[in-house]
Amino acid sequence: MAVLSFREALNQAMTEEMERDDRVFLMGEEVAEYDGAYKVSQGMLKRFGPRRVVDTPISEEGFAGIGIGAAMVGLRPIVEFMTFSFSLVAFDQIVNNSANMRYMSGGQFDMPIVFRGSSGMAGQLGATHSHRPEAWYAQVPGLTVLTAATPADAKGLLKSAIRSDDPVVFLEHEVLYPQKGEVPDGEHLVPIGKADVKRPGEDVTLITYSRPLKETLAAAEELAAQGIDAEVIDLRSIRPLDMETLTRSVVKTHRAVIVEENWPYCGLGAGVADRIYRAVFDELDAPILRVASSDAPIPYNKRMESSMLPSVPRILAAVDQVTYR
């Protein structure tokens, strides 16, 4: 297996799919001549030319809509948001047009579009540039919402997203871009709708996605040293949610903690917890706790920002609570 960075894995996924299928193209701010604000599309202009790697003006609402239009008539656009914080100006296009259009037309067309880009708190970028929009988009029927925590999943999931005939919101994390990991050689696809048990365990279920997987696995190691065997589940698919993997785990461990960067109230973890409770309430020996960001806008100051993030001590404290230690 090749060792790739997260960013290279995404680049490979797009490159391979664009090689396979001329209908696939990439569009966004600085994706072409600049090679991507975060260099995810490095070399793609050179390889595919300006017809298929398209720089746009700073017009997210407009080019999201152009992508949607192109998808309605058979192209398969990948629309990059420099960061998903900027998708807020395109919110109407994503929610109303990409998600509803097939339905409102009685199924007259597919909507094979991927919106992708970095998301989350990337370090001192402040309140406007640190959004985690997963719960906003997860709520919307019609959308598929995916996120990866490892280079392998990034590649395999993005390829599946590009091949999907439905609109996909694909959330990356800027902090993960340089991180390296093994990626299977050859055709590698990760199915939509399947969570991944990143570490099997018996005593407590730790549910996470995106960047905090790392902290969660580190916490699991600590717990192992303390004699607690934690199962770590990486959601990967935010919508649809893999309820089977989640309930199977909770039925075994009887306790769960959700680790996420999202805000606590009405955040993704609330959506996931609600569904687990309703599915297997009687199996739970403790409330599902959440290690989420603090309920405040994201500050510039580094220490303050760090204090909001999921961390190993915060995860351990939550596990202590659900295991009544």
Partner: protein, 337 residues
């Protein structure tokens, strides 16, 4: 009188002209009868926006398209759909929310889609389909297809920012799309002077993007056709988008629930006196292409078509409650409940 309307030499032959007249009658009748079903039978619900008075805009412009061109518009969409070839039956069935409707009863009046015939929708969020139109044109250009998109929007819609994002990109990338602003002087109850800092809408929408801007009497179906043809040929030649400001007027309120008290009876009467359908009848009569009997026969035919559509719609099945979860996604849909 007829000569007042017709600013240009006929650009059509008799067959086409009669067809256009008939199309205008069809839209008018479709909506008249639908309004009755809404008001009396309570069979239609939700928002319902009529096109009465504006028919020549759609008829003249769509009239110059080729088979595989595309059309997209806002919520005032019955006319465009019918002219693109959507059978009145499936349009009427959609209004009644039936499974046989163009959008299976899921779209309603504001969402008439007939993708096979190139009708890429009515769209209900003001301005939101302007980028979509640029996207269709982007795809045509990407694939090297000789296909043009016509996109209709209102005089109020030009105040949505996304419109200008799309116009800029369409111009920058020379996309084959023609934007037709149906300037009916009002956005709901807001007169143009109260919504736009400049009243010449080509100054708002064409000049800033360095693209051709045409102003045309939208109630003159042949002038509409001629101007559109020019813009469409410009697009086909790879020269990029154009904007057409078509002056027109809507007879009804903004939607069926709007009594339109913001305008005077006199103003309305003034416009209705120049009804474009009657004017075009006169023009064609003057040309000797048509006589009163022929008009009568045409109207009867149109009426019959609409009555048949209503019968079809009424007889059609309601969609099943299970279909609620159908057409959400192309992949098997798993409700997240």
């Amino acid at each position: 009188m007829a000569s007042v309307q017709m600013e240009v030499e006929p650009i059509v032959d008799r067959t086409k002209a009669l067809d256009w007249l008939r199309q205008m009658m069809l839209i008018r009748r479709f909506e008249e009868r639908a309004e009755m079903l809404y008001q009396k039978g309570n069979k239609i619900g939700g928002f319902f926006h009529q096109y009465s008075g504006q028919e020549p805009v759609a008829v003249g412009s769509i009239g110059v398209l080729r088979e595989n061109d595309w059309v997209v518009t806002a919520y005032r969409d019955h006319g465009h759909a019918l002219i693109m070839g959507m059978p009145a039956r499936v349009g009427m069935a959609e209004l009644l929310g039936k499974a046989t409707g163009c959008s299976k009863g899921k779209g309603g009046s504001m969402h008439f889609f007939d993708v096979k015939r190139g009708m890429l929708g009515g769209h209900a969020i003001v301005g939101s389909h302007i980028p979509l139109a640029a996207g269709f044109a982007f795809a045509a250009k990407y694939r090297g297809e000789d296909r043009v998109t016509l996109c209709y929007l209102g005089d109020g819609a030009i105040n949505q920012g996304g419109v200008h994002e799309a116009l800029n990109m369409a111009a920058l990338w020379k996309l084959p799309v023609v934007y037709i602003i149906e300037n009916n002087l009002y956005a709901m109850g807001t007169q143009l002077v109260r919504s736009s800092a400049v009243e010449d809408l080509t100054v708002r929408c064409a000049v800033p993007y360095g693209i051709p801007g045409h102003q045309v009497n939208g109630n003159d179906v042949e002038a509409m056709a001629k101007t559109t043809l020019e813009a469409v040929e410009h697009a086909r030649a790879g020269e990029g988008p154009s904007v057409i400001e078509a002056g027109t007027y809507r007879y009804k309120g903004h939607s069926i629930s709007d009594p339109a008290t913001y305008r005077s009876r006199g103003e309305l009467d003034e416009h209705m006196k120049k009804d474009p359908i009657i004017q075009y009848e006169n023009v064609l009569r003057d040309r000797g292409w048509l006589d009163d009997d022929a008009i009568e026969a045409m109207l009867d035919e149109v009426k019959a078509e609409i009555e048949d559509a209503i019968e079809f719609a009424e007889d059609s099945e309601q969609p099943s409650l299970e279909s609620l979860y159908e057409d959400v996604t192309a992949a098997p849909f798993i409700p997240q409940e």
